[in-house]
C-alpha cells in the first residue's frame, strides 16, 4: 500500500492553474524527488500535503485514509513536516526555543527550560551538529538554521519529511552534511519528499523521481531507469537553444564598476560586497551567478541607488562618475531595475495593469501635474502590445494576471523610462516555462537594440543560455568571470562555493 496517495488534485489561483489533475503515489520509506521548473507546481503540491493550502480539488490519502488538513497543525499530527525554502524560525529566540515553539515543555504554565535544552541537544547530536542550544538562531549560519528545522521535525516524530530545495543556500560542505543527515533519517525509516531541480543531488539521493511541468505530472521514473538528460528534458518540455541568443555585437562601454564595497554593520563578515569590479557594454547581457546570500541583489541595489548603506568605490556610467542616492536619480540617468521579489518589491496589488505599468513614467505623461488620461492609456497599451502581455484589458487588476505576465508588466514599467542599463534581479522566478522563453527572447531583443542588461538568476542553465558573460559572486566577493564559451555549470558552481580566489585584504 502506498503511504501517500494524491488523486486527481487540482488547485487554481486567480489567473493561474497551479496544479491540474495530479495523481501520484509515495511509497513507505522511499526518497521521492519532485522536480520541475519554477512555477511547475512543486511547492503547491507540497503545501497541500503539509496543510498550508486547504482549498483544492481532489483527494489526498495518507496510509490509505483520505485526509483533509485544516492547517499545518493537522499535518504535523499526521506525522508530516515540511522544511520550507524560506526558513520559519524566530530569529530572536534560542535554538531550543525554536525547536519546541508552540509545544514547550511546561509544568503549570511555567517553562521547563532545562528539559527543553537537554532534549534539543539530544536531537541535534543525532544530526551530528554541535552548537549551543541556547544560542540565538540569528547568530547561526543558514545551513545550521536548516538543521534546526530538521530537528524540529524529528521532535515531532514526523515520519514524512518534505524538503523544499534544501541546498539552495548551502555551501558544498554544508550540503554534504545535509546529505549525511538525510541518510541517517532514511535509516530511521523516514519517508522523504525532496524538491529540487539540481540533477546531481536528485540522482545521488532519490529512489524515484517525479517531474511536474506547468502544473501537470509529466512522469514518474525509478532512478535506475532514467538519466539526468531525460529528466531535464521532461522538466523543460523542449530545449531552449542557446545558439539563438549568441552572436550579438558588443557595443561601446556603458557601465564600469570599480572596487565597489558595501559595508555590513554589525555582521561578522563586515562587508556585504567587497572590491567588486566589472564592466558592461551596450548590446551585452551580463550574468551574475552566486548562491543565496552571495550579494547579487545587494550589488544591483548599489547600481540602482537603493543600497541600504552608503557604499565605497566608483561607478562610471557612460564614462562619468555617478553615485545614486535614490532610485529616481538612477532612473533619470537611464538605469532601470526589475526587482527580485515581485509581490513584495514590485507590484502595487491594489492597482490595475495600466497604473502598474505607468507608475515610473507618470511625470512624463502629465501636464502641470495632471495625468493625461489618453497618453497614459496609450503608453500602457503600447507596452502591453510590445511585450505581448496577456491581459483582458488595461483596467484588469494586476493580481489577476499570471506570474509571467505580471513580470512582463514590471519590465514594461521600466522600458517606458527608456533606460540604457536594465538590471534584472532573478526575473524568471516563479513563472512558467513558456513565459520564460518569451522573456529570454525579449532580453535578447532589447540587447540587440543597444541596451546593456545585467541579469541575476538562481538557475545556472538560464544564465548559460542568455548571457554573453557571467561573473560569479561568493560571500560578497567576485570570484570568477567567464565568457559564454568558457562558462559551464560546473565551473560556476566551483567559483560560487569555493570562496574567494584572491586572498582577503582585511
Amino acid at each position: 500500500m502506498a503511504l501517500i496517495d494524491f488523486e486527481h488534485v487540482t488547485k487554481t489561483f486567480p489567473g493561474v492553474v497551479a496544479l491540474e489533475d495530479v495523481s501520484l503515489c509515495i511509497e513507505q520509506g522511499e526518497l521521492h524527488a519532485i522536480c520541475g521548473e519554477n512555477g511547475a507546481g512543486k511547492s503547491t503540491l507540497m503545501k497541500i500535503l503539509s496543510g498550508v493550502i486547504t482549498d483544492y480539488e481532489g483527494t489526498v490519502r495518507v496510509r490509505g485514509n483520505p485526509i483533509r488538513f485544516r492547517g499545518t497543525k493537522d499535518a504535523e499530527a499526521a506525522g508530516i513536516s515540511i522544511i520550507h525554502q524560506e526558513l520559519n524560525l524566530v530569529e530572536q529566540l534560542s535554538v531550543a526555543a525554536n525547536i519546541f515553539l508552540g509545544r514547550e515543555f511546561h509544568r503549570f504554565g511555567f517553562l521547563q527550560q532545562r528539559r527543553m535544552d537537554q532534549a534539543a541537544a539530544a536531537l541535534l547530536a543525532e544530526l551530528e551538529c554541535d552548537f549551543d542550544v541556547r544560542q540565538r538562531v540569528a547568530e547561526l549560519r543558514v545551513g545550521d538554521q536548516q538543521l534546526i528545522e530538521i530537528a524540529k521535525a524529528l521532535s515531532l516524530d514526523s515520519d514524512i519529511l518534505i524538503m523544499d530545495e534544501p541546498t539552495s543556500a548551502l555551501t558544498e560542505a554544508e550540503a554534504e552534511r545535509l546529505f549525511r543527515v538525510i541518510e541517517r533519517l532514511r535509516r530511521r525509516g523516514v519517508t522523504i519528499l525532496y524538491i529540487s531541480h539540481k540533477m546531481d543531488e536528485i540522482f545521488r539521493l532519490a529512489d524515484r523521481i517525479s517531474v511536474l511541468r506547468d502544473g501537470r505530472l509529466v512522469a514518474t521514473r525509478r532512478k535506475e531507469e532514467t538519466s539526468p538528460r531525460e529528466i531535464t528534458h521532461l522538466m523543460v518540455g523542449r530545449e531552449i537553444e542557446a545558439t539563438q541568443f549568441a552572436g550579438r555585437t558588443r557595443g561601446e562601454l556603458l557601465l564600469e564598476v570599480r572596487n565597489l564595497s558595501l559595508p555590513w554593520p554589525g555582521h561578522a563578515r563586515r562587508w556585504r560586497l567587497r572590491n567588486i569590479s566589472f564592466t558592461l557594454h551596450r548590446g551585452e547581457i551580463l550574468g551574475i551567478a552566486g548562491l543565496m546570500g552571495a550579494g547579487r541583489t545587494e550589488l544591483l541595489e548599489c547600481l540602482f541607488g537603493a543600497a541600504r548603506e552608503p557604499f565605497e568605490g566608483q561607478i562610471l556610467l557612460r564614462g562619468r562618475h555617478v553615485y545614486f542616492r535614490h532610485p529616481i536619480e538612477a532612473r533619470r540617468a537611464g538605469v532601470a531595475m526589475v526587482t527580485e521579489d515581485r509581490k513584495r518589491l514590485g507590484l502595487f496589488s491594489q492597482m490595475n495593469v495600466r497604473e502598474n505599468v505607468t507608475i515610473a513614467h507618470l511625470t512624463r505623461l502629465s501636464r502641470a501635474g495632471i495625468v493625461g488620461k489618453h497618453s497614459e492609456e496609450q503608453a500602457a497599451g503600447s507596452v502591453v502590445q510590445r511585450l505581448a502581455v496577456r491581459t483582458p484589458s488595461l483596467r484588469t487588476a494586476i493580481t489577476a494576471l499570471s506570474g509571467g505576465n505580471q513580470q512582463k508588466c514590471l519590465i514594461g514599467r521600466w522600458l517606458l523610462t527608456q533606460p540604457d542599463v536594465l538590471l534584472l534581479d532573478d526575473p524568471t522566478r516563479g513563472i512558467d516555462v513558456g513565459a520564460k522563453a518569451e522573456l529570454y527572447r525579449l532580453m535578447d531583443q532589447l540587447a540587440r537594440q543597444g541596451l546593456g542588461i545585467i541579469l541575476t538568476s538562481s538557475e545556472l542553465p538560464e544564465l548559460l543560455t542568455v548571457c554573453d558573460r557571467i561573473v560569479v559572486l561568493a560571500e560578497g566577493r567576485l570570484t570568477a568571470e567567464f565568457s559564454r564559451e568558457e562558462a559551464s555549470e560546473h565551473k560556476i558552481m566551483e567559483a560560487a562555493t569555493l570562496g574567494a580566489l584572491e586572498p582577503s585584504d582585511d
Partner: protein, 434 residues
C-alpha cells in the same frame, strides 16, 4: 486579445461598478445615509426632519463640514499608508494659536470686546488684518506640525502611530501652557481659555455657507489631487506598497510630507472654525477625541488602514453618514448629541467595517464566532446591545412625550435577549456547517 473563460472571470471580478464617479460601496453608503435620515424622521416623535427640513439640513451640513474638513486630511494620510492620531489635539492647538495671535495683536479688543455705540452695547471689531494674520499664522503652524510628524517618521524612524500619539498628548498640554502664559503675560491674569467675540471672525464658522464651501472646495481639490494628478497616484502607490514605490523612483519622503501636512493643516482649518463656532478657545475641551471621528469617517467611507485604498467621495459620504447617525439618535432620544457621540461612532465603525469584512469572510466560509472566544464575543455584543437599549429607553422615557411608560429595564433586557438569540442562532448555523 484572446481570452480564456478564466481570464474573463477575472475581468468581471476586478471591474468595479462606477456611476457618477462613485464606486458600488459608496452608493451603498449613500443609500445608508438616506435610510438613516428617513428612519430618524419617522422615529422622532416631533418629526423634526419632516416639519423643518431646511433647518435640519443646514445643521447637518454644517456639522458634516466641520468633521469632513479634517476627516479628508485623515483620509489622505490613511491612503498614504500612515495614520494621524493627533487631529483632536491639533484642533485644540490651532484654535489656541489662532486666539493667542489675536490676543497678542489686539490685546485691548480681546479683553474688552464690547463698546457702547449710541447707547447700545456692540462687539468691537478686531479688523481684517488681525484676523487674516491670525488665520495665516495658524495654518503655518499646521504646516510645521505636519513637517514635524514627517521628520519624526522618516528621519527619526518612529512608527506613525507613535509619532502622532506623542503630538496627540503633547500638543494639548502645550496648548494649555501657551494659553495660560500668554494671558498671564498680556493681561497679568492667568486664564485657561480665550474668548472671541469678533462678529466677522465668528461669522466664518456660524454662517452655514462658509464652512460648507470650505469643505466642498477642499473635497474637490483633494479629489482632483488623488484621482488625476501624479502626486495622487504616488500617494496610492506609497500606501499600497512603500518599498515598491521607492524602487519605482518615487520620492516617498516628499509624498509623506505632503500627506501629513494635509492631515495637520486640515485640522488647523477645523480648529479655526471651531473656536469661531464656540466663540471661545478652550484648549482643555476643544476637539477632544475628534481624531477618532476623523479616522472613523475615513474608514466608514472605504479607506483601508493598510493603505492604498480610499477615495474623497467615500470620505465625504463617511462624514455625512456619521453626522446623520449622531444627529438622528439625538433627535430620537431628545438629548444632547455629545453624550452618545462616542458610543455611536464606535458602533457605526464596527458595523461598517464588519459589514465589508464579513461579506468577504462568510463567502470564504470563515466563522464569525469561532470557538470559546466566539461564545464570549456574542455574549459581549448582546450585553452591549442591552445596555445601549436600556440607556436610550431611559432617556426617551424622561424626555420624549408619549414615551413615559417605556420600561427601560424591560426594553434593554428583551432587546439584549433578542440579539443573543439571533447571534447564538448564527453561531449554531455556522458551526453546524463544519
Amino acid at each position: 486579445m484572446n481570452l480564456s473563460p478564466r481570464d474573463r472571470k477575472a475581468v468581471g471580478s476586478s471591474r468595479r461598478l462606477m456611476w457618477l464617479g462613485l464606486q458600488s460601496n459608496e452608493w451603498m453608503l449613500a443609500a445608508a445615509v438616506v435610510a438613516v435620515v428617513v428612519l430618524s424622521a419617522i422615529l422622532d416623535v416631533h418629526h423634526t426632519y419632516w416639519n423643518n427640513p431646511r433647518l435640519s439640513a443646514l445643521d447637518i451640513a454644517r456639522q458634516t463640514a466641520f468633521l469632513g474638513i479634517f476627516a479628508l486630511g485623515a483620509a489622505v494620510v490613511i491612503i498614504a499608508g500612515g495614520i494621524d492620531l493627533s487631529a483632536g489635539s491639533m484642533i485644540a492647538f490651532s484654535g489656541t494659536i489662532c486666539a493667542t495671535l489675536m490676543v497678542l495683536m489686539a490685546p485691548d479688543v480681546m479683553s474688552n470686546p464690547h463698546q457702547l455705540v449710541g447707547g447700545k452695547l456692540v462687539e468691537r471689531p478686531l479688523g481684517w488684518q488681525v484676523i487674516s494674520v491670525a488665520i495665516a499664522g495658524t495654518l503655518l503652524v499646521g504646516f510645521l506640525i505636519g513637517t514635524l510628524h514627517t521628520w519624526l517618521i522618516t528621519v527619526v524612524g518612529l512608527p506613525p502611530f507613535i509619532a502622532t500619539l506623542a503630538t496627540l498628548v503633547g500638543l494639548r498640554s502645550l496648548s494649555r501652557a501657551i494659553c495660560e502664559s500668554v494671558t498671564q503675560a498680556v493681561y497679568d491674569a492667568k486664564s485657561t481659555q480665550i474668548q472671541i467675540f469678533d462678529p466677522a471672525f465668528r461669522y466664518l464658522a456660524t454662517s452655514v455657507w462658509i464652512p460648507v464651501l470650505i469643505f466642498l472646495l477642499l473635497a474637490v481639490l483633494l479629489g482632483i489631487l488623488l484621482r488625476a494628478t501624479v502626486i495622487g497616484r504616488h500617494i496610492y502607490a506609497l500606501g499600497g506598497n512603500e518599498q515598491a514605490a521607492v524602487l519605482s523612483g518615487i520620492r516617498t519622503d516628499r509624498v509623506k510630507w505632503l500627506a501629513y501636512c494635509l492631515g495637520s493643516v486640515t485640522s488647523s482649518i477645523a480648529g479655526i472654525l471651531y473656536i469661531g463656532d464656540q466663540s471661545v478657545a478652550d484648549p482643555q475641551t476643544l476637539g477632544r477625541g475628534y481624531e477618532l471621528n476623523a479616522i472613523a469617517a475615513a474608514v466608514v467611507g472605504g479607506c483601508s488602514l493598510q493603505g492604498g485604498v480610499g477615495t474623497v467621495p467615500g470620505t465625504v459620504l463617511g462624514a455625512l453618514f456619521l453626522r446623520c447617525v449622531i444627529d438622528g439618535v439625538a433627535k430620537i432620544i431628545k438629548t444632547g448629541a455629545d453624550v452618545y457621540e462616542g458610543q455611536i461612532v464606535g458602533v457605526v465603525v464596527v458595523i461598517a467595517v464588519a459589514f465589508s469584512q464579513f461579506r468577504r469572510g462568510v463567502r470564504q466560509g470563515r466563522q464569525i464566532f469561532p470557538g470559546a472566544m466566539g461564545v464570549f464575543a456574542l455574549v459581549a455584543l448582546s450585553l452591549l446591545a442591552a445596555v445601549l437599549a436600556m440607556l436610550m429607553a431611559e432617556q426617551m422615557a424622561r424626555f420624549v412625550p408619549g414615551a413615559q411608560n417605556l420600561d427601560a429595564r424591560g426594553t434593554g433586557m428583551s432587546l439584549g435577549l433578542l440579539v443573543l438569540v439571533l447571534l447564538a442562532g448564527w453561531k449554531w448555523y455556522e458551526s453546524r456547517g463544519r
